[in-house]
Amino acid sequence: MWNGTPTPKNDDQTHFNFQVHFLGPKMPSTTPQNDENIDYTDIENKYQVQYDTGFDNILVVDGVPVIDESKRERLLAKVTKEFSKKGVVIKVEDIFMPWDDTSGKSKGYMFVEFRNADDANLALATLHNHPFDAKHTFRLNHFTDVERFAELDETYNEPKLEEYTPREHLRAWLADPQGRDQYVTYRGDEVLINWHGKPSQSEVAHKPDWKDFLYVAWSPLGTYIATLHRQGVRLWGGPSWKPQQRFAHPLVKLIDFSPCERYLVTWSNEPIVVPEGAVQGPQYFSPDDEGNNLAVWDIKSGDLLRTFSTYNEGETPSSKKQMQWPALKWSPDDKFVARITPGQMISVYELPSMYLHGKKSLKIEGVVDFEWCPLGDKDREETGSSGKPAKKARENMLVYWTPEVANQPARCKLYWQSQGDFLCVKVDRHTKTKKSIFCNLEIFRMREKDYPVEVVELKGERFAIVSSNDPNLGNPGPGVTIKTDVSFYQLDRAKNDFRLLRTLPSRTSNAIRWSPRGRHVVLATVGSSTKSELEFWDLDFNSDDRKEGQTEWGSGIQLLGTADHYGVTDVEWDPSGRYLATSASAWTHTEKQKTIRKNLREYSRAFDEEDAAEESNVSAELTALRKRLVDEWNAGQEEVKEEIEVWIDEVIEQIEEVIVE
C-alpha cells in the first residue's frame, strides 16, 4: 500500500502530471475536488479477497434416527464411528444436531462439519445411501446444495417434442440395382468409397471429407465405416455416410467390432487419463477407468460399457511384450466376450451388462489360447427364425488349449470350420532332436457326442485327405470336374506318427465316407454332372493273414469294386457297415437353370445391352466430343471425295474431248 503524499502545489513553471490512486482507507485528501468521481471498482475487484464461503465442508446428513436427550451421546458416538470406519475422521464436536425443543426430540438430521471440502466430498461419495441400521439410511447432501434444491424452479416446462427425422438406411448398398458391393480406398489424404462394379470401373459412391485420422476400417457386416481420430473413434454409415456414432477414446490405436456389430472394442497404448473437470456421462470415461486402456462400447447408444487394462498384474506398462489382438474375443452371437490371462484363466463376460459370466473366471492352469466356436448357418436359422424359442439352440462354446508339459515348445493353432462342425487343431512339435518341426492335424467333430477326434474315430489309426491342385478349384462351373488326389494316412505305432499309406492320383473323388468300423472307405464323386463314380476300398485287405509288422507298408489297400449312381449327391453308410445308401437330389429350380442355360444367348443379351449402355454412357461430355470429332472427320472426308469425283469427271471429259478431236 502506498499512501500518496499530496501533490505539492509547485510554481506554475513545473508541471507534474502525477496521478495517484489511493488504495485502502480513504485518506483525507488535499485534492478533494474529484475524489468521488474516481472509479474504484476495477481495483476492488482485483484485490477482493476470495472468502471461503465456508459451507463447502458442511454436509447435511438426513435419515438419522429421531432420538431423545438420553440417547444423544450414544448416537453421536455411533455416527462418528460410522464415519471414521469409512475413512472420514470426524469428532463429536463437528456435529450439530438441530433439536426440537417442544417435543424434546431430535429432528432426524444433522450438520457435519469437515476439515475441508475434499473430506466432505469423500464422505458424500462413501456414505450417501449408507445403511446406518435396519431402519435408517443416511442421505447426504452439501449444505450449499440444500439451498439450491429449495430454490429449484418447480414449474413444469413441457419439453419440446423433437421432430422425428427418419434415419438413413444403414445397409442402403444392399438395394443397389446392380447388386454391387462397396470398397473404401485411403490414398494420401483422400478417402473414397467406390462401388465395386465391373472391371475398369470405379464409380465413386461417396467422397467424404474426413480429416486427421489414423485409418479407416469397415465393420464386419459393412454397416459402418470407422475412422480413428486423436480424440476417439467415429462411425459413419448410410447412403450419404453421415456420422452415426462416436466414442471418445483419446489416442485410440486399434478397434475391433463384435461379429454382429453391436459392440466395439477400442485400444490405445496410452492408459486412460481423465483430466480434472472432464465431461462425465455414460458415454465418457469416469475416474474409475483411469489407467486402463481397453474399452468396450455399445455401438447403438454410444455408451461405454467397461474398460480393461491389457497389462497383466505385475507387468509394468513399459515392458514391451507382444500384445494379442483382438484382446477380447467375441462369441458369434455377441452374447459373450472373453479375454484370456495367459497361463491363468479365461474371463467370460455377459453382454450388455459386462459382468463376469457366472461371477467368476474360468481358472485353467497354463491356458495359452482359445477360440469361440462359430455359429453354423443351421444354428443361425434355429436361433434367429421368427422369434420362436429355438428348439435346441446351440450353446456358445469355446475351446482352449494348454501345453501338455510346461515349457514344451509345442505350438497349437486352433481352427474352426466355418459352420462350427469341425475343429482342426494344428500342433507343431519339435522332433526329438529338436532340429526340425513337424506338424499334426487333428480334427474334432463337434456336432457329435464327446467330440470324437477324427483320427481316433476311424479305429484310431487312419484318415484320408482329398487334396487338389486343380486350377479350377474354387470356381466351379458347369461341366468342370476337379481333379483330386486322395491320400490315406495311418498311424505307425512304431514311430508314433501318421504315415502316408498310399496316394491315389488324379481322381475325381471329392467325398470320403468311412465305414462305421473304419476298415472300408468309399470314395465318391458327388455333385458333379459328368462323373458319379463310387469306389469301394478296403484298407485291411490282407489283414486276416497278416502278422504284425511283417507286411509291407500300404500293401493292404485294395480296390474292391466300383459303382455308379448318376448325379449322386449324398452317400451314407448304414450303422452296421453292411450297406451303403446313395441318393441323388437336386434343387427344384434346376429346371429353370436348364432353360436359362439353353437360352443363354437370350438371357445374356439383356446383360450385354446393359453393359454396352454402361460403356457408352462413360460421360455425356466425352461422347459429345467424340461425336463432334467423328462428324467433322466424316464431313472432311466426304468433301474431299466429292472433290475427287468432280475432278475425275473433268479428267474424263477432257480425255473424251481429246479422243473426239
Binding site: R626, L629, V630, W633, N634, Q637, E638, V640, I644, W647
Partner: protein, 333 residues
C-alpha cells in the same frame, strides 16, 4: 492371334511393304537382301540378291510385277517380282534413301542422299511396263530441293506432284516437272520426318517423326488434320484400312538401346484412334525399336520390322473387328 515371326534378316529392318493384294510381304534390311514372304503364314517365297550395301527402301507396283529397291551401294534396282531377277540398275553418286511408285505403277520417285558434295536429289523415272529390262537411263524429271534435305516422298493424286518429308520436319508439295515447291508446312514436325504413308484413297497421308509425334495431313493443302503425341521417337506410322486406327512404331534411338531396359525402350506398336487422337492399345514383342510398320491392304493383319532384325506379322483377332470401344459411330475411312 500369335504373331508370325519372320526370321530372314541378319540386320535391322529398314522398310516393309505389302503388295496391293496383300498376299505378299516385301522386307528389306541393312544385310543387303530383300525378302518376300507369304503374309498369311510367314513362309518365305524368295529373296532378291544383288545389292552390295544396306537396302534402305523398297516398293512394289500395283500389279505386283516389278519391285524397286534403293540401297546404300548408290544403286536403284528394278526386279521382277515373280522370278527374283534384277531387270535394271541405275547408279547414282550417293545412296538411295527412298523409292515409291505412283498409283498406276508408271513412274517412280527416288530420293538420293546428300553426301560427299552432292546435294540431295529427287528424280522421277518412267517405268517401261512392257519390258522391265529396257528402262530409260535418264530420269524424266530431276531437281534438288532447296533447304533441308528430303527423307521421304510419295506421289499424290495431282499429276506431277509429290509430297515430301524433310530432315527439318518440313512437309512440302513439289511439282516434279519444274522442281518448284508448290506448298509447304515448315512446322509440320520439329524433327526429322521418318515415314510417310498414304491413305487408301490417297487423299491424306500420315507422317511420323523423331519429335515423338505422328500427324495426318491433307495431301492437297498440307493442312494438319490430326496429331498423335506419344512419348517416344517414332520411326513409322501406318493407317489401318476399314478401322479407325493409326499404328505407330518407334522406340529409343538405336544407339541408346543398350542402356535402356526393354520396358523403358517403349518398343511397342501403338494403336491410336485416328479421329479421337487417343491411344487405344499396344502390341509388344520387339526387342529393339520398331523401324517400319505396314498394314495389310484389307486391314486383316499388320507387320512390323524392328531394329532387332525380326519381322512380326500379326493377324487381328475377331474381336478387333467387332469391338466398338467408342460406341456406334460410323467413321468414313
Amino acid at each position: 492371334m500369335r504373331p508370325i515371326l519372320l526370321q530372314g534378316h541378319e540386320r535391322s529392318l529398314t522398310q516393309i511393304k505389302f503388295n496391293s493384294d496383300g498376299d505378299l510381304l516385301f522386307t528389306c534390311s541393312k544385310d543387303n537382301v530383300i525378302n518376300v514372304w507369304y503374309s498369311h503364314n510367314g513362309e518365305r517365297l524368295g529373296t532378291y540378291e544383288g545389292h552390295n550395301g544396306a537396302v534402305w527402301t523398297v516398293d512394289v507396283d500395283p500389279e505386283t510385277k516389278y519391285l524397286v529397291t534403293g540401297s546404300a551401294d548408290n544403286t536403284l534396282k528394278v526386279w521382277a517380282v515373280a522370278t527374283g531377277k534384277c531387270l535394271y540398275t541405275w547408279e547414282f553418286p550417293t545412296a538411295v534413301k527412298r523409292v515409291a511408285f505412283n498409283g498406276s505403277g508408271t513412274q517412280i520417285v527416288c530420293i538420293t542422299e546428300q553426301r560427299m558434295g552432292y546435294q540431295c536429289a529427287i528424280r522421277v523415272f518412267d517405268i517401261n511396263q512392257e519390258d522391265g529390262t529396257k528402262q530409260s537411263k535418264v530420269p524424266r524429271h530431276m531437281f534438288n530441293p532447296i533447304g533441308s534435305k528430303a527423307t521421304v516422298a510419295a506421289f499424290t493424286l495431282q499429276h506431277n506432284t509429290i509430297i515430301t518429308g524433310h530432315e527439318s520436319g518440313k512437309v512440302a508439295l513439289f511439282n516434279v516437272k519444274t522442281g518448284e515447291e508448290i506448298d509447304n508446312n515448315e512446322r509440320a514436325h520439329s524433327d526429322v520426318v521418318t515415314d510417310l504413308q498414304m491413305s487408301k484413297d490417297w487423299t491424306y497421308c500420315v507422317t511420323s517423326s523423331k519429335d515423338k509425334a505422328a500427324r495426318i495431313h491433307d495431301t492437297k493443302n498440307l493442312m494438319v488434320i490430326k496429331t498423335y503425341n506419344t512419348e517416344t521417337p517414332l520411326n513409322s506410322a501406318s493407317l489401318a484400312p476399314n478401322r479407325p486406327y493409326v499404328l505407330l512404331g518407334g522406340g529409343q534411338e538405336a544407339m541408346s538401346v543398350t542402356t535402356t531396359s526393354l520396358r523403358q525402350g517403349k518398343f511397342e506398336t501403338r494403336f491410336w484412334h485416328k479421329v479421337f487422337e487417343e491411344e487405344v492399345g499396344r502390341v509388344k514383342g520387339h526387342f529393339g525399336p520398331i523401324n517400319t510398320i505396314a498394314v495389310h491392304p484389307s486391314g486383316m493383319s499388320y507387320a512390323s520390322g524392328g531394329e532387332d532384325g525380326f519381322v512380326r506379322v500379326h493377324h487381328f483377332d475377331e474381336s478387333y473387328f467387332k469391338a466398338k470401344p467408342y460406341g456406334d459411330l460410323e467413321i468414313i475411312d
